[in-house]
Symmetry: C2
Subunit: 454 residues, 2 copies
């Protein structure tokens, strides 16, 4: 009889696992249990859907129900798994309309994603207070905006979601106050390095308050009206709490699965948990960092897709009694975001993260341009790198600019996977033509500076 794979969660990791398992072992029965109304959508597109760049939430669906069915995947939305029983190889739960269900499995993938972190503030339960994690959240938020036409929003948290939503709200004509507890945006972009972005935000009418400790959300008649922070009272008829993402480990924890030191589910490089037949993938797991070697919770879309696919491939191979070559080779935490005209990107360890991880790190910075000095339309392109003093190894980089950021951070991510020294990066043969950069590119230049001064 055909073996059965059950997947808890129908977003990037879960659907990647489902699709890859079916591709590699077409005889597998694959059931995806998704608690929300949507499976297989591009979660990273939600801010642009809210901004109105993307007309309909349906445009975010990677596969529509017919395409999913054509791949032989049985996706059941509005099915919330509430318990997994690894010993019995079964899961059970409830549909949104209150029906109980249970499902046995030969293989299980936990792709439970992450949950928006909700700090212990008063007023979080008020109306007009939002978090943003899945497509239902996005639809609720856009429909609130279109219905209630809020004039003033307070966004708490200047991470990826906070910054992307700042732009989305501002472009919808909403006055935005962006509060951030730390003095850095996006984790480790400090005031000095992020200056052009902070300036752009202000220029676009956004009030940015760094170092603001939120104390609570105030309201009248059950509706939020303001956010109280160490920097004052910030009036709001819309509050977005964007203080980060926690791994969704409730089910795993209740079932007694091992969690790692990061708090996320512990898996090996094939995405196996410590229980037979039980895999996990996506934003709920921890993965190895290629620079520090430590296990980290790095909830990023490519890793979610990739770990899902790896889980699916290994399950298919196990079901077929074969061996899969697919292993996870590590994250560099490579990430990029657009904030108005700017791109901010990072890979590997920031200077602060390198120090936190115990490296004797030296920091080098270079303020370059995106085109040759004499070529029209050149934009700023800033780079900052962390280098290990003794080994001269590149540990990580941060970049910002209006053009040419994404690929350059990819080149540095590649250098991190190859464990290159700054001397090696300095001597790379990179592309040059006047419309694309100076002859000594920002990457080559900053590593040359490091090679010289170390």
């Amino acid at each position: 009889m055909a073996k059965k794979l059950v997947i808890v969660g129908g977003d990037a990791a879960g659907m990647s696992a489902a699709a890859q398992a079916r591709r590699a072992a077409p005889q597998l029965k694959v059931v995806v249990l998704e608690k929300s109304a949507f499976a297989s959508y591009g979660a990273c597109g939600i801010p642009y859907y809210i901004a109105g760049d993307i007309e309909s939430h349906e445009d975010l669906l990677a596969l529509n129900p017919e395409q999913i069915a054509a791949r032989g995947i049985d996706v059941r939305c509005l099915h919330e798994v509430r318990e997994i029983r690894p010993g019995a190889r079964a899961v059970s739960g409830q549909t949104r309309d209150g029906q109980s269900f249970s499902e046995s499995y030969d293989y299980l993938v936990l792709a439970t994603g992450g949950a928006a972190r909700r700090p212990a503030w008063s007023g979080l339960g008020l109306e007009r207070v939002f978090t943003l994690r899945n497509l239902e959240d996005g639809i609720a938020l856009r429909s609130f905006i279109e219905r209630e036409k809020p004039r003033r929003a307070v966004i708490i948290g200047a991470g990826f979601i906070g910054l992307e939503m700042t732009e989305a709200f501002a472009r919808r004509g909403i006055e935005v106050t962006l509060l951030n507890r730390s003095e850095c945006i996006l984790g480790d972009f400090d005031r000095e390095f992020a200056a052009p972005v902070l300036e752009t935000l202000r220029h676009c009418g956004v009030e940015v308050v760094l170092g603001a400790d939120v104390q609570g959300i105030e309201g009248t008649a059950a509706r939020a009206t303001a956010v109280q922070s160490s920097s004052g009272l910030h009036a709001a008829d819309l509050v977005l709490v964007a203080t980060g993402l926690e791994p969704g480990t409730d089910l795993a924890r209740a079932a007694g699965l091992a969690l790692g030191s990061s708090g996320a589910i512990r898996v090996d490089e094939r995405m196996r948990t410590d229980r037979p037949g039980l895999y996990a993938a996506g934003d709920c797991i921890e993965v190895k960092h290629v620079v520090s070697g430590e296990k980290v919770h790095a909830p990023l879309a490519l890793t979610a897709n990739r770990t899902g696919r790896i889980a699916g491939d290994n399950i298919a191979a196990a079901a077929l009694g074969r061996n899969s070559e697919q292993r996870f080779r590590g994250t560099a935490g490579t990430a990029i975001t657009k904030v108005f005209d700017y791109a901010l990107a990072q890979t590997g360890l920031s200077p602060m993260a390198a120090k936190r991880a115990g490296f004797d790190a030296v920091v080098f910075e270079h303020r370059s341009r995106s085109r040759a000095s004499y070529y029209p339309g050149s934009k700023p392109l800033w780079i900052r790198i962390a280098v290990e003093r003794r080994t001269r190894r590149l540990l990580g980089a941060q970049m910002l600019g209006e053009e040419g950021v994404c690929g350059r951070i990819d080149a540095l991510a590649t250098a991190l996977f190859a464990r290159m020294s700054v001397d090696e990066v300095h001597h790379l043969d990179l592309a040059y033509a006047p419309p694309f950069g100076p002859v000594y590119d920002a990457i080559v230049h900053v590593c040359g500076k490091a090679a010289l001064e170390l």
Copy 2:
């Protein structure tokens, strides 16, 4: 007494050598002998100067005469070296106004660059026939255009200069016919892969004739009027011969220096020729290719600047009785050019070059997009890679697109320096956000396809 460094050629390599030698050994006397009227300019900017994007040729000067003097470099323009005598450690020549000069040296750098290749066609000596190599050529061509207002140009050769000049002429309102002997542009971009660029050229009014063997240039009253090719007679009141660059080895050859199999000057990784104290750098030398390991003539701006700097650093160290760490680590032939809205880029070995170099190469191609499918404004982004069958090693890549090409080719160049397999590239952690690409980037995707199918 201070030692003396003489440099023949004041463009990228020569001036880099001069500046680095003075930085590292300030007591060195440095004399640069440049046959043209200009030293230290951005030669790659000449097409944009001719197009009119750059107002004055002075904007292309990296250092003006005062800045050069401030660095303690004695630059003598209009000084053409005609002989080097390695035994006597001396050079001699003539100024443009007919004065003889000679100069002794302790160290010599030959930075004689390259010369435009001039095939054996009739009519090459006619008026209105141009080649483009140095700033004087560029000034002559722009001034001809502004004075004579040519209506129809024929460009022979669809390499970097030919394509950049096609755009420059077209944007000046000149009707352009672009003739190319091979069926590929830029060396190895075939019709199919280059289709969007060929389409854009035609859309901009350029007549592109591939596979056209030029037989000669015709003229009346000493002026070119047409180019005769295997595809017909192409009327022209301006002809640009852009059939490639030959290494400038006349002086080296006459002095009996060893040339390599590529025909360019042979140097070691410190830029030393086979004569004591005699170095060479830039477009006149051959360098090691990181993928094939062969010595190649790869006249590119970054390599010219870099080999010049390495020569200068090693000479300074030799003069100080020290050791220099600066060695050339290889070229990947990484290059990019802009053709109207498109960027075309390559690194490493193209499929054809890989086969010519004796690799058992397999080709993979992917037609991707520059942004997530649902994100507005996405452009085509095409990639083609060559992979060694047995080792699965990436050998090279070609890309084209309207955005995001430059950094991506840099990431692949980095992978080549690290000798990565397609499996390793497939598992790189690259940056993703919807405005910058799909979650599985073109690079990751095409290497995944190769990993699966090999």
